[in-house]
């Protein structure tokens, strides 16, 4: 079998990996905001650090150890509970992380997890084992591109970078995303969450105020109302003082479509809402008793105000 590629040189690969870790260590910090060992953080933009929110157990000012060994005080400025991301601000940070090319985070790409659970950086090595589209947070948010990793994550790795073999950041390691298994939040998601957090202080979550469950309508109802499908979402509850209540949605209504998108599972509703803007009305088509109706509902931003 003819091949033009040179045989894999372990020595070259080894020195490439160690210099990748060396470069990555220039933008990885240790965050001392919990008991026992510190967690890791990435210098993401000028003066900004991102990390895994669950590892930063305190608000306000937290001590951070820089790659130089110096300690600075950083201030927690915002958190996003759904992606478990926290943003901190600090003065005197070195240059931010470089990003990997998008083709460096495919299934099978070599990857290094780099952490700073103390003064020195530590590393583990493996491959991207899956790229999950449509991963769901606890609150139902759809996140595309979550990386499952075939590598070991150790204490203090959460919040640190997953880097490609060429040294750019692919994502932020967070074993809490996947119940303790190795996983990383992709760079694009981090950027969009950080943008929202900086501009609004929170991530926008358009919200209706209903709880729903999938149902299949009786075939007699389907034919009587001349519906093109029998699946919908039955409304189990309507919360007080919410857009759904104001629009007149009732318990027992079967939601069929939102702005033309068919609703066959609760995830469809979450996704359609995320594509809307809070404050702009959307139309919902539903079945109530033996009639269909279309209601205009104006989602609100669940995360604004409050808390």
């Amino acid at each position: 079998m003819a091949s033009n590629t040179a045989p894999l040189s372990l020595v070259d690969l080894s020195s490439q990996l160690s210099s990748t870790v060396e470069r990555a260590s220039q933008y990885v910090v240790a965050i001392r905001a919990r008991r026992r060992i510190p967690s890791s953080g990435i210098i993401w933009r000028d003066g900004l650090i991102v990390s895994a929110s669950h590892t930063v157990r305190r608000d306000g000012r937290v001590p951070v150890t820089l790659p130089s060994g110096d300690s600075v005080e950083a201030t927690v400025i915002a958190r996003d509970p759904e992606t478990d991301l926290v943003v901190l601000r600090a003065d005197g940070l070195p240059a931010p992380a470089s990003r990997a090319e998008s083709n460096e985070s495919s299934v099978g790409s070599l990857a290094l997890a780099v952490g700073r659970p103390g003064r020195a950086t530590t590393a583990s090595f493996g491959i991207v084992s899956a790229v999950i589209d449509g991963w769901r947070s606890h609150q139902g948010r759809r996140i595309d591109g979550v990386l499952r990793l075939d590598l070991s994550v150790y204490d203090g790795f959460s919040g640190g970078p997953l880097v490609s073999a060429s040294g750019g950041v692919i994502g932020l390691n967070n074993s809490a995303l996947a119940g303790g298994a190795a996983a990383a939040l992709p760079t694009a998601v981090i950027d969009s969450v950080v943008d929202d957090l900086l501009s609004r202080g929170h991530v926008s979550r358009p919200y209706l105020g209903v709880a729903v469950h999938p149902v299949t309508l009786a075939s007699s109802t389907v034919s009587q109302l001349q519906l093109d499908r029998a699946d919908g979402l039955v409304v189990l509850s309507v919360a007080d003082d919410t857009p759904a209540e104001r629009a007149g949605i009732l318990v027992g209504d079967v939601l069929l479509e939102i702005t033309g998108t068919p609703l066959t599972k609760p995830a469809n509703l979450y996704d359609a809402l995320l594509a809307t803007k809070a404050g702009e009305p959307v139309s919902i088509r539903l079945v109530r008793g033996d009639k269909t109706a279309t209601l205009a509902v104006t989602p609100i931003d669940r995360n604004s105000g409050g808390e």
């Binding site: 020595v11 080894s14 870790v21 590393a123």
Partner: protein, 196 residues
Amino acid sequence: MTSTFTTESPIGATPSELIDHLTQWVVEVRHRGSTGTGILWGKSGMVLTNAHCVRDGEDPQIVTSLGTRRGRLLAVAGDDDLAAISVPGLAGPSLNIRDANALKTGELLFAYGHPLGVPNALSMGVLHAVVRHRNGEAKFVVADVRLAPGNSGGPLVDAKGQLVGINHMVANGLGVAIPATTVARFVDQVRAARAA
């Protein structure tokens, strides 16, 4: 069997070259039905392994591609989990030793041995950290490499096949090795004691 191997030339350029190198000096240490790994220490006539792979006062068996021999337990350093076994007539290539202070986090490391009785298994990982004594001297080499019982006493090497340490235990899923410099010091002590 004659060997054309020389330690001066760069080795381990490819995975198969690395294995060819390792098979020349990695042996099996059998003791009362359990299997560990050992390192043929150059022309010294000694095999080095973990203290927990042998028992004081009992002589283990050394298995190589040439067959099985009875070794004689020379010395045990329980604190460092090291043991030296005399096996007259066995010799390997002279070993290159890599100082843990020269290791870089993220560089490739390989463990070779007989995990769970599987002979001659290679596993690959990277340097995770070097744990140091208070005086700065390397105490353990910690590697993100998958080890199992049977890897004990076997070598942790770098991409050039240089000895980095002797695999000692697994902690939190990480491989923990005794630094090669500590092993070399133990070998010197054993030799001095024999000469005396």
